[in-house]
Amino acid sequence: MAYNPKTGKGLGNIYKAERRCTVRREWRGFRDTLYDYFRWLKMLGMLGAVLAPVLPQMMKGLTRYRWLVSYITTPAFVDRHTIGLRGYELRYTHLQFFVVLRNSAMTLRCILERDENLNPKSKKAAALRAKTVVFDEMMPIQIMNGFPTLKGISIQMLPIFEAGEIDQQANMYYIDAVEHYGLAADVCPLPAADSGCYIVDDYPRIGSAYISSSMPCDGSLASTMFSHRYFKMPSYQITPPQRFLETEVQEYAVKNLWGAVEFIEQQFNVKFDWDAFFEGVKRYNTECEYMLDKWDVNCTPYPQVCGAGLALHREYEMQIASSLDPAFVKYDAKVSKLMKKGYEKSKAADDKAKYRAIVWSCPAHYYSNFTYWAQNCWGIKTLVDMECMLSYHYYDEHDKEKVLLDMAKGYERMAMRSHSNGGYVNALDECWKMCEKFSANIVFMYNHVSCKNFAGLQGLFEDQARERGIHLIWIEHDLMDPRTVSRKAMRDRVNRYMTTVFRAEPLDPTLVDYDDDLTW
């Protein structure tokens, strides 16, 4: 534990209200501190190696794109998610984040070397753009496994989605831009920031065809009005059925998804490569298997890979890397091996979690390390996060028809969509089912104040949690806009619940009240 009762010093002391980064790094004991430094150096080395070939574009990009500046704070992002962690947990988290950041850095390189704004006269960039398919946000690009000669890039993930997780201040400018344009302030800030980014012309121009989608929600669907108009590229829209639990809707789903494949074939004059695709499917299945292993361990009294390390990794692995990056399988294997050792060690020491919780509804992008704070401050382990419970069924590895159906079902069960669409059972009933599965009696119920989908079930959640005796801790946030609900205000909800309902004492009192409004 990081708190020293004798000196009264703890993790809260490394924050200062007027500072953007922490005052100092944490002392974790010799071995863990050394490991932490090693990972820190390794990450910097990786970032340098991946981005060195595009250094001129990177420098130019920093003056052209506001969002790109946020990526300079990447090391602080990893630090935030490892504060207070020791031993195996520190190692899992570093490995999980490393592979995500490596994939993001490689995507960033692809963006920088293709971007027409940064390489207006480059023939090489133009040739790369001619082979690039641009994808809408919150949609996996798994179909690109069947187009090994092309590159698929989720256009909004780096400028908006990940930037908001790395730096809580990253999205505000774009949200303000679209609200000045006339968009109501009550809509979800994620598609709002997307739209704002179009309005201020802050998206790179990197491809020659665009695949948009209706995923995952009304705001996201409506924001495609802006993206279509901005890109002015040939486009196709993937619109999976809403009521995806019904068998009858799958025929339409498959047709609609296959339409995207045909669109790419026509636009780029290439054929869908089934062999390459099935290779990707195998990787996907292996990734699923590793993730389900993590869940299984977390169902025991000795959970291992928890919190954002579990959730963010799965979200990026499935949705953004979409089984196109073999490094994920490699790192999954490493984590799995460590996890088994960690489990044995915890079991031997009978190191049980003090409180067991799951996270439900959409978490705040600007506070993705919230679950680690809850662990450090109150001893609440977050065993699973709704965001990582996107598609996890296995795909057929041989049959073309079956695999298309499996993939269509995968697209239907994307981040957020898997629970916010398809009827209330996916949100309500599934939550209680997961509480039972993970033996959790606390639900961190994220109350994303602009999410109408989950807001529409608020009373039913309240009623049903009461009936089941589950502690539903409502935590308001505004997804990408910390000005509406700050990180501190989010923590206060848990603090109040723990002191008034559980009558609990914090493990680290310095974490109960501190100011981090200015930090990245």
Binding site: V187, D218, M225, Q237
Partner: protein, 402 residues
């Protein structure tokens, strides 16, 4: 202008969902089928002894219960319906045909379903929740037809023994088309230089056609049409400008009245519960199943904001401009009910494009569900009217100078 003969009666019918004509039809053995959205083809709810009732929550006051269930950040229309349902206001319904089109309405329906607002008396009551596709290609048409066949027609037949044959559907289409023809002809009087019907009056007639059994209002609509043919407008125009009203759900004619009292005559109603689209005839051929044809026409004519394919977005923009020209309007008002995500985007997006690229004066406003007494809205419309008048004066002066 002289008052229309049936207008006050129609207006009185709009004061409750379970109105006099609904009760009368049910007493005669009719089945009341509730629905909310254009994407639930109302013609399918008018088979045999069934009649459609598009749900409203007139005279809504507090929405405390619904706010507990759906929070205060969701669409007030969806919450108002839930509140009315929880109060027992929809117990008269024999089925509720919902659609999974927008988040708030979907959740409102799901809350109603879980909280059992239908009561215990209607043993054969059924719910449906249609998965409406996001575009209008043939794959979408087939998907839509499958949903409607399985979730609406089949239960109608199984629960109530309703004839769902091709012939029965064609019969319902005939009645539907008759109402559409009447409403369209009545609406055409808005094209006159000095229209003989106001937007407020027209909205009442349109709402009646959505919320009452059609066979009980059709005669009165015919009489109203005849009356309008000889109706003399006021000699002095009692409006300053004409506008097209575009936006989200408006089921309160008093909102249109507020706009008209501010000097802007509403000559075209392109909003949910308006006549564009909704009151266009369905043209059937003998070449393919009638359900498929209906689905295709509904999807293709839909101007709902949830359809975001590029051709649909462009169609909405062009259609707004077309209505402005056809109905000789001076400008367009884009409105949205508060907390409506779809219309929030469309309002911001389209109002800029219509203003800057189509050069049509545009006002963009948001409003609560019950906005009949909104002083703020009145001020915005008045300012818009003045701005159009100033533009007209400037254009006239510029013409004189030339």
């Amino acid at each position: 202008m002289k008052d229309l003969q049936h207008l006050y009666y129609f207006e009185s019918l709009l004061t409750e969902a379970n109105n006099e004509l609904v009760r009368q039809a049910q007493a005669q053995g009719g089945l009341a089928l509730g629905y909310t959205c254009y994407h639930m083809p109302e013609v399918l709810l008018n088979l045999g002894k069934c009649f459609s009732v598009r749900l409203r929550a007139p005279r809504t006051g507090s929405m405390e219960l619904a706010t507990y269930y759906m929070s205060n950040a969701t669409c007030e229309y969806a919450r108002a319906l839930l509140e009315r349902g929880l109060e027992g206001g929809y117990k008269f319904l024999d089925a509720l045909a919902g659609v999974d089109c927008c988040e708030c309405m979907n959740r409102s329906m799901e809350n109603m379903q879980l909280l059992k607002i239908e009561g215990t008396e209607k043993k054969s009551f059924f719910w449906s929740n249609i998965d409406v596709p996001c575009s209008d290609d043939e794959g979408c048409v087939a998907h839509f037809a499958e949903q409607l066949g399985r979730k609406v027609l089949k239960p109608l037949h199984e629960s109530y023994g309703i004839d769902i044959s091709e012939e029965a559907i064609r019969e319902a289409v005939k009645e539907h088309n008759e109402v559409c023809r009447l409403i369209t002809e009545i609406g055409n009087f808005r094209k006159l230089d000095n229209p003989t019907i106001t937007g407020h009056e027209f909205h009442i007639l349109t709402l009646i056609s959505y919320t009452c059994p059609k066979h009980l209002i059709i005669d009165k609509l015919r009489e109203t049409l005849e009356e309008l043919k000889t109706r003399e407008p006021d000699k002095k125009k009692n409006f300053r400008v004409k506008v097209v009203l575009i936006g989200s759900e408006i089921d309160d004619p008093e909102l249109v009245s507020l706009i008209e009292d501010s000097g802007a005559l509403v000559v075209a109603d392109r909003y949910c519960y308006g006549s564009f689209p909704g009151r266009q005839e369905l043209i059937l051929s003998d070449d393919e199943p009638v359900l498929t044809q209906i689905c295709r026409q509904y999807l293709q004519s839909s101007l709902c904001v949830r359809l975001c394919a590029t051709h649909k977005v462009q169609k909405r923009l062009d259609y707004a401009a077309q209505l402005k020209d056809e109905y000789h309007a001076d400008g367009i008002i884009y409105e949205q009910i508060k907390f409506c995500t779809y219309w929030s985007y469309e309002r911001a997006f389209a109002s800029h494009i219509i203003q800057n690229e189509y050069n049509i004066p545009t006002l963009s406003v948001d409003r609560p569900y019950m906005s009949r007494s909104s002083g703020q809205l009145r001020t915005r419309v008045q300012a818009f009217v003045e701005s159009i008048e100033i533009k007209k004066i400037k254009a006239k002066k510029a013409g004189e100078v030339k």
